[in-house]
């Protein structure tokens, strides 16, 4: 609750900006009427229709969880949620909405961070949660075909006895759905090892904005036959069509996992360490996570995980969490041990010291430090969060420059910005830049934006590495995509969705 209360203040600041562009995308769109419900009732059972309109006339409280995101930061006012059970039903709904110019927001687990899955106004919400069947799994090729509404954790559970895993893992795995994961091109903890969904998704079934079903649900590893259309829908955040089925390449389950936390004397050592770690661990390296000293101390202060011993953190400027997963424990441990030995015995060691988890409890405990950073930052104050991709060697520079900039503006003190911290997935070039302030204020916001976006743009980085654009960052898209790119994105959008009914007001400015 603490979390949502803090974030609830943000729309007050951000709201004006969101409203400046959203009506344009929604201008020509109509609201759902009772006549529309009559039509939907022809092919949908009453249980698939939740609406405040008559005849069903559900209380608006029943729509709350669909109209608001989990952080309670974005608020829609939709009257109607439809929960189709089949691709055909999705198609019929979309066809009707296209003819009637009704905006549609496709919704999976509604766990996004950028307001991409809730309506901006009163668009119809199309929830995929009733489409949760696993269609097939081949334990030789590892190819899994599933409905879009399958919850990530349920896929993981389904695959476990077959000794496979989904090549994707997120904190939200208990609620997020595979269709939403694909639509947002979710990154997460396994990306370093298994690559992005652009690689592991083999095929998609998509309902296009005119109701056509595009069946590209192939189970082929190789298929070079013309344009690879499915790639357009991966990360399109539901603006080009609704993903209803996913064919994904599951990975063999690792038989052993280890992790170590390394303490580094200076940031400059992170990259040489990454190179050396990659060289020696090669295929068993599954995570390489960076955190600076400030954020580590915040994690310890707020009781995340079990802290290292004082002598192990002394003189450390930053930390790196390395995880291995492989097929044979002895082999993995041998590799890890020889890496650690060579690191410790080097003439000019890259690391001060480090600790190794000797039990699963310690394994989780080390991860808890890394995974608890978000929470620690929220407990410390009001966080401005930037999820950015920049070249690896610029991680520290981004943090330092942001800090200096705030200092110059006179905002770096107890009552304004308390900390500027950086952590993230080194392996993926993804930095989480967090500015921890005493309170959200217009001055701090003005000092940070567009400063951070411009800084990221100057490194040719991305303003949204894994969280997407949604409704939150449409105004900032220009910092990561040049005019030509945005123009062509708009052309593609117009080609697929000439009436602009699919997730209006999201992604494109």
């Amino acid at each position: 609750m603490l979390f949502s209360r803090q974030l609830a203040r943000r729309p007050l600041i951000r709201a004006p900006r969101r409203w400046t562009h959203s009506p344009a995308a929604l201008a020509g769109l109509k609201s759902v009427t009772e006549d529309d419900l009559v039509h939907f009732a022809h092919f949908l059972p009453p249980t698939s229709i939740v609406s405040t309109l008559s005849p069903s006339a559900a209380p608006s409280s029943e729509l709350e969880s669909f109209n608001n995101d989990w952080m309670n930061k974005y608020h829609g006012r939709s009257t109607t949620v439809l929960k189709p059970r089949t691709t055909e039903e999705v198609s019929k709904i979309v066809k009707w909405c296209n003819e009637r110019r009704i905006g549609i927001v496709p919704q999976g687990g509604n766990t996004g961070l950028v307001g991409g899955s809730v309506p901006i106004r009163d668009e119809l919400i199309l929830s995929l949660s009733n489409m949760s069947k696993i269609r097939s799994f081949d334990d030789v090729s590892g190819i899994l075909v599933a409905d879009a509404g399958c919850v990530l954790q349920s896929l993981t559970d389904y695959l476990a006895p077959h000794n496979h895993i989904v090549p994707l893992d997120l904190g939200a795995k208990g609620s997020c759905q595979i269709g939403g994961n694909v639509s947002t091109n979710a990154g997460g903890l396994r990306l370093l090892r298994y690559g992005s969904l652009h690689g592991s998704v083999l095929g998609l079934e998509v309902v296009l904005p005119d109701g056509t079903i595009l069946d590209q649900l192939t189970t082929l590893r190789k298929d070079n036959t013309g344009y690879d259309l499915k790639q357009l829908f991966i990360g399109a955040e539901g603006t080009l069509g609704i993903v209803t089925g996913v064919s994904i390449l599951a990975a063999p389950a690792p038989q052993a996992s280890n992790n170590v936390m390394l303490a580094l004397p200076k940031f400059e050592n992170v990259l040489p360490l990454y190179k050396e770690t990659k060289r020696q661990l090669s295929e068993i390296l599954s995570a390489f996570e960076f955190m600076d000293r400030t954020v580590y101390d915040l994690a310890v202060k707020h009781g995340q995980g079990r802290a290292l011993n004082p002598e192990d953190v002394e003189g450390a400027e930053c930390f790196v969490l390395v995880e291995t997963s492989g097929g044979k424990r002895e082999h993995d441990e041998q590799k890890l041990n020889s890496l650690l030995e060579s690191l410790m015995e080097a003439d000019v060691p890259l690391i001060n010291t480090g600790v190794i988890a000797t039990s699963p409890a310690q394994f989780s405990s080390l991860w808890a430090i890394r995974e608890g950073l978000t929470e620690a930052v929220s407990k410390e104050g009001k966080a401005y969060k930037y999820d950015i991709s920049v070249p690896l060697y610029k991680f520290q520079e981004v943090v330092d420059k942001t800090k200096n900039h705030l200092q110059e503006k006179g905002l770096l003190h107890e009552d304004a910005v308390k900390y500027v911290v950086g952590y993230g997935h080194v392996g993926d070039g993804n930095l989480h830049l967090n500015v921890v302030a005493a309170a959200y204020t217009p001055e701090i916001e003005a000092a940070l934006e567009p400063f951070v976006y411009e800084l990221v743009a100057s490194y040719k980085g991305s303003i949204s590495a894994e969280h997407g654009i949604g409704a939150m960052k449409t105004h900032a898209l220009k910092y990561s995509k040049n005019e030509t790119s945005i123009e062509w994105m708009k052309k593609i959008k117009a080609l697929f969705d000439p009436n602009g009914i699919m997730n209006p007001g999201k992604v494109l400015p």
Binding site: L343, I356, T358, S359, P360
Partner: protein, 268 residues
């Protein structure tokens, strides 16, 4: 006061290699045992014992002369010793039993530990070990060892304070509904409970050092003991699968269901 020679403590920590507690246990098809081809690590209670020994040294400094760890188990049990050495123990003893041998029972282990203690030239003042191993859950070894040696014992410890000069220890035990504080005379056997401490991570420099620490290898024959089990395992079965619950719409329905299940209200 009469000046006395400083009494230095020698601590022995027996450790056991067990199936890791995070592993899902699978019963073998023959129902005589469980699948052992899975991740093993140090019995968590023994890890707490090693940690406590190391903490005693951190508190008492030079008054703790030695921390020796001992394990009785197959070849791979040596890994468990290395982990204990990396946490801060000084040296190890590995009483090696053949990989094919049946797992020894608490009485055999207690006798082996007695033999180990008796051959220590400087003697042992304090034995700290887990209150039980998580594989057989017997919770007998510490008690049997104290009995065989005729030493004091303090089981299920949640706090241990040792006074080497007075040769006494104050131990807080976790008992039903509260805590019990004992004052014991050394030599003493302490078995550890979960809340005694939280074991540290093994740091890299200590892991490197651990590789150079001595491990003495012995066989049961060297100790003149017989580890043949006295018990025969008749059958091992999995607990019954939990049946899923159901949702009820109203209080009335709930009461009806409870009645159906034969649960009746108690008249007050």
């Amino acid at each position: 006061m009469r000046p006395s020679a400083v009494r230095l403590l020698n601590i022995l920590v027996p450790v056991k290699r067990t199936v890791d507690y995070a592993v899902k246990i699978r019963v073998n098809p023959d129902q005589k045992g469980v699948d052992l081809n899975v991740k093993h690590s140090m019995n968590p209670f023994d890890e707490i014992a090693v940690e406590e020994a190391v903490r005693l040294r951190e508190r008492l400094k030079d008054e703790v002369k030695s921390i020796k760890v001992v394990t009785i188990g197959p070849t791979k049990a040596a890994e468990t010793l290395r982990t204990a050495l990396a946490m801060g123990a000084d040296s190890g003893i590995h009483v090696e039993v053949p990989d094919s041998a049946p797992p020894p029972e608490p009485l055999g282990i207690a006798k082996a530990l007695r033999a180990v203690i008796q051959r220590e030239k400087e003697g042992v003042d304090l034995v700290i070990l887990g209150k039980q191993a998580i594989d057989d859950d017997a919770s007998q070894t510490g008690q049997m060892l104290a009995g065989l040696l005729d030493w004091a014992q303090a089981t299920f410890a949640s706090k241990v304070d040792v006074d080497p000069k007075a040769k006494t220890a104050n131990v807080t035990r976790e008992i039903d509904g509260g805590l019990e504080e004992l004052k014991c005379q050394l030599p003493l056997v302490v078995t550890t409970d979960l809340r005694l401490n939280e074991p540290r991570y093994a740091s890299l420099p200590n892991i490197m050092k651990a590789k150079k620490k001595p491990i003495e290898k012995l066989t049961p024959a060297d100790l003149k003991i017989d580890l043949t089990p006295l018990l025969e395992t008749v059958k091992v079965t999995e607990p019954p699968k939990r049946k899923g619950g159901g949702k009820v719409e109203s209080v009335d329905e709930l009461i009806a269901k409870l009645k159906e299940a034969g649960i009746t209200p108690v008249k007050s």
